[in-house]
Symmetry: C2
Subunit: 152 residues, 2 copies
């Protein structure tokens, strides 16, 4: 099985390969904030297991197998980011957190969060009333409906 960290590498390679179809050790290392030495090692492992094509000193690219994994993870992360930002988590934080938990969440959970995102997106209103209420609740700390009841 593929370690969590390995998945990060695959996803990164995926992103970095978009233009040219391949990427280099240095780029991966910068993106992931690890030293090139660590990337070299990981590439050896990933190519051994058939996730990347690794031509030493030349380039790294994904195999079909690797691309499939990467795409899955990327999709998962996008869902998580959307989900968290919908709930009012600042984008930068949402992205960080998504990157961490994308690897560990049960698919069942992801499925459900995905449904939630769709539920909000497919709502007829641009921003559903309840979501507006929620945002208000976040700002004022009081449920708008309660206010209505008390005041009205």
């Amino acid at each position: 099985m593929l370690g969590r960290r390995a998945e990060d590498y695959l996803e990164t390679i995926y992103e970095l390969s978009k233009e040219r179809g391949y990427t280099k050790v240095k780029d991966i290392s910068s993106k992931l904030n690890v030293k090139p030495a660590s990337v070299s090692e990981m590439m050896a492992k990933l190519s051994e297991q058939g996730y990347v094509v690794y031509e030493k000193r030349l380039f790294v690219s994904l195999t079909k197998k690797g691309r499939e994994v990467a795409e899955n993870i990327r999709e998962r992360r996008e869902i998580l980011v959307k989900f968290l930002t919908t709930l009012g988590v600042p984008r930068s934080v949402a992205e960080e957190d998504a990157c961490i938990i994308e690897h560990v969440l049960n698919p069942e959970t992801v499925k459900q969060l995905k449904k939630f995102v769709r539920f909000v997106e497919e709502s007829p209103a641009l921003t559903p009333k309840w979501l507006k209420h929620f945002k208000e609740f976040c700002e004022k700390g009081v449920h708008p409906c309660d206010v209505a009841r008390v005041r009205g």
Copy 2:
């Protein structure tokens, strides 16, 4: 700083100590599904760092410092479980996932999820209408409001 795994240990000790005020290596090992040998090691480390009182071969209990950490984590987990179950994730899955991500989520994110839970709990209706809609959406795959528009 305390490793993620160490936090799991603290939380487990906390739970197991509730009745008697202390717990034993074996119990921790069963709860965390690791061998007693691993627990011994971790206890040595945690007591060195002042998180537990570790009387070799006799018992393990939390120090104040350890209890504080444990309580924090437990609270975070409870929020997560509530949150996930609210969104329709089955309890067992929610508990598993919560246990994993409780350690890594940004406090900002947790804060926001907590607000969401409160928002739902403090809603005047037992189950807010939108949440009913969401559940329906989960079952039928169609947003109830859309149905209303199309049919009506």
